[in-house]
Point group: C2
């Protein structure tokens, strides 16, 4: 698109790399940004860089946080003896939105996928096992109901069995092949309530 | 969403202000940005600020550019005696993509809208009239076929009539109520070819 000057092209180019942003959306966003007051553009840009520089994994559960321990792990009202294992932070967010889960989390940051060459060592499994040395009364596996999610669930349950800690899996109710983050809160709540021991 | 730390919330908040970006898309974009290498985030942020600081209106046609005169107005191969009047830069981009228009543009940055209180003085009409003092052999009005676009077209044609410069309107073919930027290139080309004098 040589009818735009180089800086506009560069901006459209950068924006179209974001997930779910096609060429046309990127163009629309670029013009919107160019029409924003300069102070607002600087705030948007600054927020990005600031978040990137300061957000890291929670030392406990590997949720994203800008503190050492995330707000969930710091919350003393929650049941720290129940750990829900999720694939990523968006899935954690999906369960938090139900407002019906009172335990803590463990974010794996991925799922076992032989097809993609992702083995147990590529996800935060070792860290989960370390946590289980403490006082834990239940591990709820809430990985997606995809092939990778199910594989991961089976792998984890076998790994934990020898410790004697009860391992549960969220109930079906989550549609097979579905992504947790897109499912409504009632279905997620039902799936939590209907969990059964593996 | 108090389960995110403040910097993540701030980032989601900022992103959800962009056009067409809902809460869920903003969240997805935020996690994507947090997963990007820091250098890439800095480049994205820097590109935004740099574009905002350096992009302004072309002195000739009011297209967005980071130079004094935009690439289209600088292009000597184009016919500078034919001026196409568009509402905004996205509409200019839509016509440029057809590759079939060889004149130059005039970007109004809006359309006359009594309902929104936008009068002739709120858009770049005075600047268009100034350009017409030069050597111009045709003004093509390519405002949208919405109520505002049609009103603007009629207003401009009456304004130009006394100068004796021929004024044309892109043909119907552009669906009524449609936005130029969303129309396919063939329809846009046909509308250009079928233009008729007002």
């Amino acid at each position: 698109m040589d009818f735009y000057s180089s800086r506009i092209n560069a901006l459209i180019e950068e924006l179209s790399r974001l997930p779910g942003i096609g060429r046309k959306s990127a163009q629309r966003m670029a013009f919107h940004i160019l029409a924003m007051p300069e102070a607002e553009v600087e705030r948007l840009a600054g927020t990005m860089v600031d978040a990137k520089k300061n957000v890291h994994y929670c030392r406990e559960c590997f949720n994203l946080t800008d503190e050492e321990i995330c707000p969930i792990c710091r919350n003393e009202k929650r049941d720290h003896k129940v750990i829900m294992v999720v694939e990523n932070t968006r899935d954690l967010a999906a369960y938090e939105k139900t407002g019906r889960y009172e335990g803590v989390y463990h974010v794996l940051h991925g799922a076992i996928s032989p097809a993609l060459g992702i083995g147990p060592n590529e996800i935060r499994l070792k860290e989960l096992m370390t946590r289980l040395a403490g006082d834990v009364k239940e591990v709820i596996i809430a990985t997606n109901s995809s092939l990778e999610g199910e594989t991961t669930a089976m792998y984890i349950s076998k790994l934990i069995k020898p410790t004697g800690i009860p391992v549960t899996r969220i109930a079906s109710g989550v549609p097979v092949g579905g992504d947790l983050e897109n499912i409504d809160e009632i279905t997620l709540t039902r799936a939590l309530e209907g969990r059964k021991e593996l």
